[in-house]
């Protein structure tokens, strides 16, 4: 009972602190903007812990955060092995191949208005489909190991990336293209000096969307078969054994990997498109 009371009390105090902070004159400062969501996050964890302990929820339904943290700390070698298998091998390989080939195809069809008019709607259409469903096919074609996961990732990121790049290549203004024409610039000069730089905000938009898609693809593809390692494999087998602390630890790895991956791409974007109004801030 005392756990429940503690959780309630903590929640009320944290709520009061957050309301005070949010409505104070300091609410626009960096520190407060960071503190408020952190307090909220910590509160969720404390309430979770308190409720689970207070109501004695069995760990096969919801383990407390402390148990998950312990499991995380004691399973580092396994988590690292799974991370390497799913993220480094499956996700990253597929991401680089998929995004790279999409940009290459976008440039290849750039000169053909006909192909663009055909591929853009088809690409948009395919980007909305549940491509994740190709996972069993890829596993059949490329085997259980990471190659099939990379193939699913390629299929998932290719079309969003293609659509974004094609749109980006059309993003330069007519006036800027006229300017290049008054210099008698060649096609490649215009592409390299004007249209590719102007496309960068769109290309990075695609790259950012693709980080999440890639990780989803690699994890879900492992549900259809994988060697005895990998984040998706671990989740599905540990769920079967009702070892939920391990599942949560694996989910924590996936969350960290996903946000760090996205953050890294966003950081590169900041460096490359520093000139764009959205980045000048």
């Amino acid at each position: 009972m005392s756990w429940l009371l503690f959780a309630m009390l903590f929640w009320v105090v944290a709520l009061w602190v957050n309301i005070r902070l949010a409505n104070s004159s300091l609410s626009e400062t960096r520190a407060v903007k960071l503190a408020v969501p952190v307090i909220f996050g910590v509160t969720v964890l404390v309430v979770w812990e308190g409720v689970v302990r207070g109501l004695e929820v069995p760990p096969v339904i919801l383990p407390p955060p402390s148990a998950i943290a312990v499991k995380f700390a004691t399973s580092l070698p396994i988590l690292w092995e799974d991370f390497v298998q799913t993220f480094i091998k499956g996700t990253l390989t597929g991401y680089i191949l998929g995004c790279g080939s999409a940009v290459a195809v976008a440039i290849a069809i750039d000169r053909s208005d006909f192909l663009q008019r055909g591929l853009l709607p088809v690409g948009n259409f395919i980007a909305a489909l549940p491509i994740i469903g190709t996972a069993p096919i890829m596993v059949m074609w490329f085997g259980f190991d990471w190659q099939s996961k990379a193939a699913v990732v390629v299929a998932m990121v290719f079309f969003p990336m293609l659509v974004n790049t094609v749109q980006g290549l059309a993003a330069s203004e007519a006036m800027q293209r006229d300017l290049m024409k008054t210099y008698s610039a060649s096609y490649w000069q215009t592409l390299l000096k004007l249209r590719l730089p102007a496309a960068m905000p769109f290309i990075f938009n695609g790259l950012k969307i693709s980080t999440t898609l890639a990780l989803i693809g690699a994890i879900v593809a492992e549900f259809f078969g994988s060697p005895i390692r990998g984040m998706g494999f671990r989740i599905s087998t540990e769920v079967g054994r009702l070892a939920l602390d391990m599942v949560w630890a694996e989910i924590a790895v996936a969350a960290i990997a996903g946000s760090v991956f996205y953050g890294a791409v966003a950081l590169i974007e900041k460096g490359v498109t520093f000139w764009h109004p959205s980045q000048r801030g």
């Binding site: 203004e173 290049m180 024409k181 008054t182 008698s184 000069q189 000139w275 764009h276 000048r280």
Partner: protein, 261 residues
């Protein structure tokens, strides 16, 4: 056609085919621009003044008549880098510094690295932008951006400058200042300038020759040779001679039904 005509148009016409039928953007345009002239094109929107400039630049193909630039077709003149073009907006590339923007045409045209540096320095001095080389366009005011775009057009030393309402988006105080600077630049470099505007004082203040145009179809209504001296301080705009020319331009616009548009 006289031999010293830099730009010569004869019976020039341009018709766009649209869904609402053909639009005559230009019709029967005859004009000669001599070396060192400062020619303004004035008229309401739709009178074809910008279209004419784009035809000179080889950005549009005329559908009738002939036009030569330095004795060549506009396309040949473009490839020979006969002119620099200044658009209505500065149109600087935001990912390049001011120096980088001015360098852009030089890179495309294959100047050596050393020559690029030398020319960037020279033209930025011409437009009073020394010290801003490393700034990005969006860190500069609108007037400074437009000066940088003029420097960019001057960088490769073409002897014709085509300017399409370059100061149209700026406020009047900045515009006065830039007009004055442009006249100085013109005096120093001796370039031939074709200048599109919809401001009567601007046209009269700047030009040796004012081309009054009227819409539907776009054609030349009147060509007014300015009696003003080449040396023009800003307060020349209060003299009777200036007001007289301005009055003639206004009359021309009215007679061309410019105010109905």
């Amino acid at each position: 056609m006289t031999s010293d005509a830099v730009i010569a148009a004869r019976d020039l016409g341009l018709t766009f085919q649209t869904n609402d039928g053909p639009v005559h953007a230009l019709k029967d345009v005859n004009l000669q621009i001599a070396r060192g002239d400062f020619v303004s094109f004035i008229g309401p929107s739709g009178c074809g003044k910008t279209t004419f400039l784009r035809v000179v630049a080889g950005l549009e193909e005329p559908t009738a008549g002939q036009i030569t630039v330095n004795g060549m077709s506009p396309d040949e003149a473009r490839r020979a880098r006969a002119y620099g073009y200044v658009f209505q907006a500065a149109g600087l590339f935001p990912w390049r510094t001011i120096a980088g923007n001015v360098k852009l045409p030089l890179e495309i045209m294959g100047f050596t690295r050393a020559e690029q540096e030398k020319r960037v320095k020279k033209v930025l001095q011409l437009v009073d932008l020394e010290g801003f080389e490393r700034k990005f366009p969006w860190q500069l005011s609108g007037g400074m951006q437009q000066r940088a775009s003029i420097a960019r057009a001057l960088a490769f030393d073409a002897d014709i400058l085509l300017m399409d309402e370059p100061f149209g988006a700026l406020d009047e105080i900045v515009r006065d200042h830039l007009n004055e600077q442009l006249l100085k630049l013109w005096a120093r470099t001796g370039k031939t300038i074709a200048f599109v505007t919809h401001s009567i004082p601007e046209a009269v203040y700047l030009s040796t020759k004012i081309v009054v145009m009227s819409p539907r179809p776009g054609r030349i209504h009147d060509v007014i040779e300015s009696p003003l001296p080449r040396e023009r301080p800003l307060d020349i705009r209060d003299t009777p001679e200036f007001l007289e020319v301005a009055h003639r331009v206004r009359e021309g616009l009215r007679a061309g039904h410019a105010y109905e548009g």
